[in-house]
Amino acid sequence: MDIVLTINGRPHHLSVEPRVVLLDALRDRIGLTGTKKGCDQGQCGACTVLIDGQRVLSCFVLAATVTGEITTIEGLAPEGGPLHPMQQAFIEQDALQCGYCTPGQILSAIACVHEGHAGSAEEVREYMSGNLCRCAAYPNIVQAVLQAAPQMDATAGPTSAETV
């Protein structure tokens, strides 16, 4: 099937079998390998991307069915420009060890803030529970989300999450 995916503001034309999931299209067909394949079964959250600002699991989305605008980790900050406040907060709070789950954590965290679920550490833990971290950097991840949340309110980020 011939499809057009709009990713980080740019259209990408490709031809895919119906069974190709968005995760594989991003990584193997388009070369955007920032989105990670963890379990490939909807259980770990590593493949989280935003579609029209909503966080979804790209391993459970058929590429040919996507009509919205996709945001991946590569689209959060301009080349050479300042990082997204959530990316900066993850660095400052040391919210990762191996880093494999981090792209999914950051996209999920941005959506978590925009949904209004970053009001307390308890709320962040509940609404970030879909992103597993095998290194167990959870306390620092929670701190990063809490740090970035007020900054995101002050600065319009480059994601389409603002439209939610």
Partner: protein, 333 residues
Amino acid sequence: MRPFALEMADTPAAATNYATQSAGTYLAGGTVLLDLMKLDVIEPQTLVDINALADTYGAIEADDDGITLGALVRMAEAERHPAIRRDYPVIRDALWQAASPQLRNMASLGGNVLQRTRCSYFRDVSWPECNKRAPGSGCAAIGGNNRRLAVLGVSDHCIASYPGDFANALVALGAEVGLRSADGSERRVPFEDLHRLPGDTPEMETNLVPGELITAFHVPAGPWTRRSLYRKVRDRTSYDFALASAVVALHLEDGVVAAARIGLGGVAATPWRAHEAEAALTGRPLDEAAAEHAAEAAFAGAVTHGGNDFKPELGRRTLVRALLEAAAMEVLP
């Protein structure tokens, strides 16, 4: 995943036509379907993408008679809806405690109620025995690892548990489900009649006829909906299936139960309404003794298989706690 054909339905008629003529399987959120396809548990030849029908089946409408939830409403949308939060808190409770935020953004309500069991022997095709996946092959869970499996509504052929949360609220509140058949006719049936007990045909999980499409859920208003909640007990604090859960909705008059609506999750073969527990409570003051009496009634028919021997007791305690908490709720007039 095995290859399949993908059809895009832009009208309800196109959807049911594809589903009947191509023996297609409806695709909404895909969170159950693609999962089981990746595991080779199911191998549909054709998927019919119905997401474009959200204009028709994607609304939430509340009035004095109740609330109607379109089948293509996403779980996260319903969780946020002001009328649900105010007048049907048990529905919001059941939704936000299910799955993860990502999955709730994706999963449709119609697909959610058709969620398949998490029984390991069903999901792992390397096990030859599973009457649900391969009819007549036997049940590896009976005598196997059955800690998470059902104790109510089970049979000698299958003890798989229904894993969902939202459906337990629907069944307890006496909801109806709207259906559209391939010939375009519509019907409404009690939600309680949507799922089938396993009996000797556990592969047949619902009473849907081939090609039939879930269009909406109609939840009737009642004096019990505001005093309602969902309590869910699980191994992890968040993002896990229920070991035991309870839906409670109460109409109290001077502390006496005028009407009770009770559902159970994590412990039964299907979304489960505890009619015996409701009857045991009606007309009695709701105190701890009455709650325990009702919980005994709810699990009187429990059948356990070793690994899940703990479930009736956990289920009773979960229900007692839910009943006492619901009785203590501060409810808007």
